[in-house]
Amino acid sequence: MAEILLSEAEKAFIHHGVQDDLRCDGRTRLDYRPIILETGLVSNASGSARLRLANSDILVGVKVELASPSPDKPQEGRLEFFVDCSANATPEFEGRGGEDLANEICRFLQRSYASGDTINLAELSILSGQQCWVLYVDILILECGGNLYDATFMAVKSALYATQIPSIKVATMDGDQPELELSDDPYDTKRLNTENLPCVVTLMKIGNHYLVDPTPEEECCSSSGIVVAVSGNKKITAVRKIGSGSLHPDSLVSMLKTGSDVGAKVNKTLMIKLLEEKNLEKSQKVGFMR
């Protein structure tokens, strides 16, 4: 993550703030920073979303393509995640600098979306063993203002929510090869069921307390924390410890509990907002110039 140099005095200030439940920007420990979200910005993508969580800026594009399913899962489509840390975000990401972080996020996305309980990959199957949809989810990190995990997951969920999958029919079987027929109507599309897709909550431990949505400065003060992926039905789908410190089992359990509560709330709010946005008119789109 972006390294920030903080003096001991600054660190102590943040520590005391967390202790008194009043952080530098006036939030309590369990408050998020303001989030700006818009979907459908990239016209060439099947679904896209741009999310700004204070200074973290994430752009997600989903491309829908046809492919043959993997031999071990003939009845399922697939999701492919790719995270790209743009060198614009911080100079450290230049060249291969952001690769480790990108890999970590990517793998965590894969694992938390892996379970059949979050996304029904059978929905993406067209012809068992022959054709399926592949959703390429490309994540671009444009600016790095702390809490990348949460921001990325929210943006991915929103982009998948907005993704339109064209309806396609298997018309005839020409020998072994199926002939696919794409609907003439460009608006004849379906959306995925995104209700249960996971949102992530990052909990960082500072002193004896933990907090959500850390700023880069706070991340710098903390040696350890956890990221919890919580699905729409309040179940935990993946967890991992981050940072080089260690945690006591009791505090870990309490962090998990808080994480799942907060995650469920975030998920619910996000779904409400996405529905609101969907019902808005096209002309009200804001775009990047804001």
Binding site: D100, T237, V253
Partner: protein, 290 residues
């Protein structure tokens, strides 16, 4: 995924013939969670390898000295059929390319041998291996006294020779033994263990067949947890959870895992004690010779 152009690339679309085997008995694939449980453990609550659910495979053939004779410290561990070697080099001068840090730095490399899993692995580290390396590093950083070797680096290389489930857990134990045998100062040993959650049942130290794999139909309350626990300081250094579970279940799993680690601690300590005694007696023998 970048490919090594100097190596001859095999056909990209080859797959294990074992997949064909599975297709024949469709029943097993469509099995519901209850049936899955029956497959993994019989009606008399005994697993395939005759363990009871809360039983781990014995740590056997733990060898600490001389496995890799050129390394400063090394260890070899067999946990059932999971076999791995770890070599530790350093502390030595930090290579120029990495950033300056006053504290010591750890470099971890986690690699599966190409033939170690059912599916063939590539020669280059793939995404999963990179993430496992990162997890290993973060866990060991919590245990190693990094301030004791400022401006120097220690390299930890783990090679999985055979993977029969819980490779990360075995790697954590193995790496901390290797670090200890290399006389790297540590706060505590990290002992790794895995727990597989089935609906209403927890399996300690799962084998490859028992490990959680994302499935389409029966995924509720199915998950895998790997922890790295430091028994003397009672701290968790690594925590990775994948799959869908409730918070209460996670608490149960954590408890089972930590209890096991506390039981294993004396065994691991005994191994180290033997090494120390051996080296001391060798030294005194050498002195007599002089």
């Amino acid at each position: 995924m970048p490919v090594d152009s100097r190596r001859l690339q095999g056909p990209e679309n080859s797959f294990s013939y074992k997949l064909l085997e599975k297709k024949n008995d469709n029943e097993e694939e469509a099995a519901l969670s209850a049936d899955l449980q029956k497959i993994l453990i019989g009606t008399n609550k005994v697993r395939k390898d005759k363990r009871i659910p809360s039983d781990a495979r014995p740590l056997c053939n733990v060898t600490i000295t001389g496995i890799v004779s050129q390394a400063k410290g090394s260890a070899y561990i067999e946990q059932g059929n999971t076999k791995l070697v770890c070599g530790v080099y350093g502390p030595r001068e930090v290579q120029k390319k990495s950033d300056f840090s006053l504290n010591g730095q750890l470099f971890c490399e986690f690699k599966f041998a190409p033939f170690s899993c059912q599916k063939r692995r590539g020669h280059q580290q793939d995404n999963e291996e990179l993430v496992l390396s990162g997890l290993l590093r973060e866990a060991l950083e919590a245990a190693v006294c990094l301030h004791q070797f400022p401006k120097a680096q220690v390299e930890v290389n783990v090679m999985v020779i055979e993977n029969d489930g819980s490779p990360l857990a075995a790697a954590l134990t193995c790496a901390s033994l290797a670090l200890a045998s290399a006389s790297i100062p540590m706060y505590d040993l990290v002992i790794g263990t895995s727990v597989r959650q089935l609906p209403k049942l927890l399996l300690l130290d799962p084998t490859k067949d028992e490990e959680w794999e994302p499935e389409l139909n029966h995924d509720e309350d199915n998950s895998n947890l790997t922890i790295g626990f430091m028994p003397s300081t009672h701290q968790i250094a690594a925590y990775v959870h994948e799959g869908v579970s409730k918070t209460e279940d996670l608490e149960q799993m954590l408890k089972l895992a930590t209890e096991y680690c506390l039981k294993v601690q004396p065994v691991v300590q005994l191994c180290l004690k033997e090494v120390v005694e051996k080296t001391l007696s060798n030294e005194s023998e050498n002195k007599v010779d002089e």
